[in-house]
């Protein structure tokens, strides 16, 4: 056997769900959150940090109570998501990747969320919304106090 086969066991496979769980608890990928995942899975901290910093879903700094993740990839842009983004920025007084002073919202310019057929689309926390308009987006956000 020349091409080496590593007999994978489940440790690394658990990393993604473990990071999600840690993020739910800590709110973001704080060093403590990553260290606790490393301890729980018995993995080197560098491996955990490597994973956590590769994926956009894991937050690199603290976020507000609700996270608005508006898609800004091609289809959504063509359907007007850039306008929506600047409206949100104006309304809340924050640029993408920032958090309102009251800590209510964080705004994230998201990569493709796979909703091109119903663009523009966004995810708020874990809730999915599609076919957004200038009107609908604010009434949706009204539900997130």
């Amino acid at each position: 056997m020349i091409v080496k086969q590593r007999a994978y066991e489940a440790k690394e496979a658990l990393l993604m769900p473990a990071l999600y769980a840690a993020q739910r608890e800590h709110g973001w990928m704080s060093p403590e959150a990553m260290k606790s995942v490393a301890r729980a899975l018995d993995l080197p901290p560098a491996t955990v940090k490597g994973f956590a910093t590769f994926y956009d879903m894991f937050r690199k700094k603290p976020v507000g109570k609700h996270v608005i993740q508006l898609c800004t990839n091609v289809t959504c842009i063509l359907s007007g998501s850039e306008d929506l983004l600047s409206m949100l920025s104006d309304k809340f007084g924050i640029a993408p990747n920032e958090t309102t002073t009251d800590g209510r919202f964080s705004l994230v310019a998201m990569e493709c969320i796979g909703a091109c057929g119903t663009a523009p689309a966004m995810i708020v926390n874990t809730d999915f919304y599609e076919n957004l308009t200038k009107e609908s987006i604010f009434s949706i956000l009204e539900n997130y106090k």
Binding site: M1, I2, V3, K4, Q5, R6, A7, P31, M34, K35, A38, D42, L43, P44, P45, A46, T47, V48, K49, G50, T53, F54
Partner: protein, 820 residues
């Protein structure tokens, strides 16, 4: 093996089925440029430099990750391929700084070489380069993130091959960099494998920083002077000084793998206390003397002692670090010129136990380890040994075996590196490995899982059977702290495995194993009808096996070490010590000191002015391993050459030559005057080794502690090796000392709380033999009621507390700890 035939650049070649194009090409002498491939790692396909054209295939294929097929037609150097490589280089050089004039890698940099061959003189793109600070804060390893091309070799060799995972890709896209998790100072085992695999100058040896351009150095292949692995390290010499060590693919049994000792430890020969001239004690002080004067002095004093007390009043201690030739001449001198059989070494407390176990169990006089033995077993059982520390490169084969799907069960009280890389950690009370083995055998016999036909035919089977009656799972569980179910399951799974291996180390400084542990291992092997070579116990140091085989041990009625140094009656009047420092490395220092002080004549022949040398009447300066010719025998039994690659220090001469001259001064010519002549006679002696017929016999082995903990001394002191050091020798290497330079004591958080000990504060460690001060490290790796102490550091005087043991009892040391 299934071979596949294919055509590369018009040449018909054959390679094993399953190989990649790159492997097939390299094996057949066809070079394909690559930046992220390493023979030890899985294909990665990251750099795209190895792209080739495959007939009938659309586009280019990455040679490192495309498997060969019968009849495949491959072209590695076409205009299309060259154009693609040029573009890849253009992109790499967009970020890689062109700081070659101040980069230590220049001249042996893969990227530089490839840019020279395929690269463009201009770049069509523009982008900003990284501007990260160089990281020089960790010992021995320097990192320059700006030069990094993110091939990932360092990350993968660290994680997949070394089993550590100290660094990883942090971030994503252009901003990605290789770093420890939180930008902290790199704190790993400092093997330096990442430096060898780095194709550019992003990782480097800090000790070699700005020391030389590579083309001004001569690189010499040398056997590493430290452990029994017998690795070849490639030492670069500039202006008569060794300034760098590294591993090289295809060189030595280690095939380029090295641990930190092999890579950085060479500089012990430049320690400040190297001896430069002979010295004789005059009016209480050691003063310089000429060789003639010193040898005449030794000859006369030795002669008068022999005359007065007889030759049996003279003893000698050999060295596991000196060459076969040196040791052969020591014993020849003692036996023929002096006439004494009192010859032994520190291996008495280490490898001698393994030898005794092999002799009693298998009737074998020579049992080297098998380098690839770990790769041939489906179930590996390691008993209370961190093989990855004691034999770091051989230890990699245990990790590799596990990665290849073998079951690696490690019985250890401490969470060692091997434990972290195991499939199963059997966490037992320190020193109870022998009980665990007995418990396994009890289950195996009771459940009829053993090889009845073979085992019952072996001498002493019934004695073994009856000796195990007290080792029921319940009893063993009480001793070891391992649950009854785990003991039963381990016994069942081990005995039903397709192929098996028991391994343990035999270090003189380890006090959690003894002869009985090794005998129990041998019993298990025989009980299951396995071959004796499925018990693997390596000899400890670079030439332990060679020294042992050259005859540095009593042949007839001579005194063994414990009788020479620890006996109450002082029958020895003269002691000749070659390359050993008993006052530091031997147990129960007070007893040793007492014996040495009582000598009428103490001769110490060494490369350093050691603490023992300071007590001597005569001190003779010897050449270090890099200053003389000779041979070492590795733990695997390979006799390998060491060569004179640098000039001797001061007036030092090789150890063997000292005996040639000394015997002449005593008027007795030993008849051997060169390494070649000595080698010829030694090889005759060595050629008879391992030729005798095996004779198997069970040896019941009980679990017993020589000293038990008590209310006065409630903790057990475990002495151990750490990865960065080897015996006391490595502590004289400045490079290795920059990683770990001080002894410490590890204890569990619970004990720290109980005894009110603060992390990194000093504690008093007291045994009935004495007390020492050590810095406390609170660690989750350590079980309760136990303290772990590395033994390598002379100034820590750990051996004040310990005691020697050559037989079956486990020599753990009961101690008590107090805040200092």
């Amino acid at each position: 093996m299934n071979l596949v035939e294919l055509t590369i650049n018009g040449k018909t070649v054959k390679a094993a089925k399953g190989a990649t194009i790159l492997q097939a090409a390299l094996k057949n002498g066809i070079y394909i440029p690559n930046l992220c491939y390493d023979r030890r790692l899985s294909p990665y396909g990251g750099c795209r430099m190895c792209v080739v054209e495959v007939e009938g295939q659309k586009g280019l294929s990455a040679a490192c990750s495309t498997q060969i097929r019968e009849g495949m037609v491959v072209f590695t150097e076409t205009p299309v391929v060259a154009k693609s490589r040029k573009a890849v280089l253009e992109l790499l050089l967009l970020h890689h700084p062109l700081d070659c004039p101040v980069c230590d890698k220049a001249g042996e940099c893969k990227l530089q070489d490839m840019a020279y061959k395929y690269g463009s003189t201009s770049n069509r793109f523009s982008a900003s380069r990284k501007d990260e600070p160089e990281r020089l804060d960790s010992p021995v390893v320097e990192r320059n993130p700006n030069r990094c091309i993110l091939c990932g070799l360092c990350v993968r060799i660290c994680q997949d091959h070394q089993g550590v995972g100290a660094i990883n890709f942090i971030g994503r896209g252009f901003k990605t960099k290789i770093s420890p998790a939180f930008e902290e100072t790199l704190d790993c085992e400092f093997c330096g494998q990442c430096i060898d695999v780095c194709p550019v100058g992003a990782l480097g040896s800090k000790t070699y920083r700005f020391m030389s351009r590579v083309w001004y150095m001569n690189e010499e292949e040398m056997i590493c002077p430290y452990c029994g692995c017998g690795c070849t390290t490639n030492l670069s010499v500039r202006q008569g000084k060794i300034i760098r060590g590294r591993g090289k693919e295809g060189v030595g049994i280690n095939d380029g793998d090295l641990c930190g000792k092999g890579r950085y430890g060479f500089d012990y020969i430049y320690a400040e206390n190297r001896l430069k001239t002979p010295m004789i004690r005059k009016e209480g002080n050691l003063v310089r003397a000429s060789w003639d004067e010193a040898l005449k002095y030794v000859a006369e004093r030795m002669g008068s002692i022999i005359e007065k007390h007889g030759p049996a009043s003279v003893g000698a201690i050999g060295s596991q670090r000196c060459s076969i030739e040196d040791n052969f001449m020591l014993q020849k001198f003692m036996r023929e010129a002096v006439g004494t059989d009192n010859i032994d070494s520190a291996a008495r407390f280490g490898y001698a136990k393994a030898h005794k176990a092999m002799e009693k169990s298998f009737g074998s006089d020579f049992m080297p380890i098998g380098w690839e033995a770990p790769l041939n077993a489906k179930f590996l059982l390691v008993i209370e040994s961190d093989i990855t520390s004691a034999m770091p490169v051989w230890g990699l084969n245990f990790i590799l075996a596990r990665n290849n799907g073998a079951h690696l069960a490690v019985a250890d009280s401490k969470e060692t590196k091997l434990v972290r890389n195991s499939s199963q950690w059997i966490r037992l009370v320190p020193g109870t490995g022998v009980a665990l083995l007995n418990g396994m055998m009890k289950v195996i016999i009771d459940e009829g899982l053993y090889d009845k036909e073979k085992a019952q035919g072996i001498q002493n089977f019934s004695a073994l059977e009856s000796s195990l009656k007290d080792y029921t799972p319940a009893a063993v569980s009480a001793i070891t702290g391992v649950s009854e179910d785990e003991i039963r399951n381990l016994a069942r799974e081990y005995s039903s495995a397709k192929s098996r291996l028991v391994a343990m180390t035999s270090g003189a400084s380890e006090n959690i194993k003894s002869l009985n542990t090794m005998l129990a291992g041998a019993n298990l092997v025989m009980l299951l009808g396995d071959s004796p070579d499925t018990l693997q116990i390596p000899a400890e140091f670079s030439n332990t096996l060679g020294m042992w085989s050259a005859g540095v041990r009593p042949a007839e009625q001579g005194k063994e070490m414990q009788e020479m140094l620890y006996a109450k009656d002082a029958s020895l009047k003269a002691l000749y010590i070659m390359g050993e420092n008993p006052i530091v490395t031997f147990h129960d220092v007070a007893a040793v000191e007492n014996t040495l002080k009582g000598m009428e004549l103490l001769v110490v022949q060494d490369i350093f002015l050691t603490d023992t040398a300071k007590m001597a009447d005569v001190v003779l300066p010897a050449c270090s391993w890099a200053e003389k010719d000779g041979t070492f025998m590795s733990a695997a039994g390979a006799v390998q050459k060491i060569r004179k690659i640098v000039k001797e220090t001061g007036e030092a001469i090789p150890d063997w030559e000292i005996f040639v001259r000394l015997s002449k001064a005593m008027g007795k010519d030993l008849g051997l005057n060169s390494v070649a002549e000595i080698s010829a006679q030694v090889s005759e002696k060595l050629s008879t080794l391992g030729k005798n017929d095996l004779k198997l016999s069970f040896n019941p082995a009980a679990y017993e502690l020589i000293e038990n903990s008590s209310s006065e001394f409630p903790m057990l002191l475990v002495t151990a090796n750490i990865l960065q050091h080897s015996g006391a020798l490595s502590s004289l290497s400045r490079n290795l000392d920059s990683v770990v330079s001080d002894a410490y004591l590890e204890l569990s958080p619970a004990d720290a709380e109980k005894y009110k000990i603060i992390n990194e504060s000093y504690v008093k460690v007291i045994s009935k033999r004495g007390e020492i001060l050590l810095k406390a490290i609170i660690s989750n790796e350590v079980p309760e009621k136990t303290v772990f102490v590395p033994i390598h550091f002379a100034h820590a005087k750990v051996n004040t507390l310990t005691y020697p043991a050559v037989n079956g009892g486990i020599p753990l040391v009961p101690v008590r700890i107090e805040p200092a």
